[in-house]
Symmetry: C2
Subunit: 203 residues, 2 copies
């Protein structure tokens, strides 16, 4: 990528390309969409595009980061009001809708498989997801103070496990076979039993 004179133009052009690329990916998937299509959608020539992104993979990386950031915001917004579990299910429901709606279901899978082969991308994405985990952990701590979650559980570990679950749900959603409400109901059972303040009878 070349040095740029007008940073403002650069920012605009990048966004213009990213928007076009996302539209194309959404329609045809990561690997099916061609650079020609992206260029046409962005109304820009291939040569110009390569001034702003090193490669197709670079565009993928940038969009992945955007997505992860969006997800983090989603978390922050939903993790207030209601009980913790209800918020959690609401987040999961949004997640499912997003991942099976249209052809975008494969996005997380594509991103993960890209990250598996590119450790620099993996680090970047992991860093961003840590943001989500941290804000989720905060919500856990608050819920613990409210007595909704067992105080014996470590908030960060809970947050990480819930995030792992979300990833699993995304994979399942990609198959588009089971009804969402079935998955959500099962998830609620897991979450309730996992998180409940157990005043278990002594063994």
């Amino acid at each position: 990528m070349a040095r740029l004179a007008d940073p403002d133009l650069a920012v605009r052009r990048r966004q213009q390309i990213l928007d076009a690329a996302e539209a194309c990916f959404r329609r045809r998937g990561f690997h099916q969409a061609t650079m020609q299509e992206i260029c046409a959608e962005a109304r820009i020539s291939p040569g110009a595009l390569y001034r702003y992104f090193d490669s197709k993979a670079d565009i993928i990386a940038a969009i992945s980061e955007e997505k992860r950031r969006d997800a983090e915001e989603e978390f922050r917004k939903l993790m207030v009001e209601r009980t913790f579990i209800d918020s959690l299910i609401a987040v999961a429901r949004k997640f499912l809708a997003k991942h099976s709606d249209s052809e975008a279901g494969s996005l997380l899978c594509d991103i993960a498989s890209e990250a598996a082969r590119d450790s620099i991308l993996a680090q970047r994405l992991f860093g961003i997801q840590e943001g989500s985990v941290a804000s989720l952990a905060e919500a856990v701590a608050v819920a613990q103070a409210r007595g909704e979650i067992d105080p014996a559980l470590a908030p960060m570990e809970v947050a990480r496990m819930l995030m792992t679950f979300f990833d699993g749900i995304s994979v399942r959603a990609a198959f588009k076979i089971e009804p969402h409400e079935t998955i959500l109901h099962q998830f609620r059972v897991v979450a309730e039993r996992y998180l409940a303040p157990t005043t278990r009878a002594p063994t």
Copy 2:
């Protein structure tokens, strides 16, 4: 794919191609590996290869099915002896090792993203995974009889949730950042609390 005279040769050729393809995918990933490489590895010409598989995606589908079948066998083998939870952790450990070892970590992600875009493949893979879920559910039922798992839980639902978790763990493993034992420890906590026969105090 053309009609074939000698079904035995066909079977041999298909396996020969699948073995070569898997070696290539393992080295370079699904989308990086080229048909030329696969042909070279299989010591066969492109024209010959296309007698046995319709497309690269078709090879991907066949390998995906193999992988899912292997996973099912793995489940059956491990889900005996020991306590249920210990078996589960052992399975998860094997899973993690397989998914982060070498460049094969992205395989499940690639498969899932392929399935998201191809509903016929999705159906085929889902059917195979149902086999794993069913045998896992059996193990759950046995553990319930032994008093290790709360009898109030529906075995099939538990099996499905645990499978969802495995998918999530695979995605996380693809990033190759966190130590496996950390993930496994957290997973154990979830499994124990989720499955434990709760003699909870009444609210």
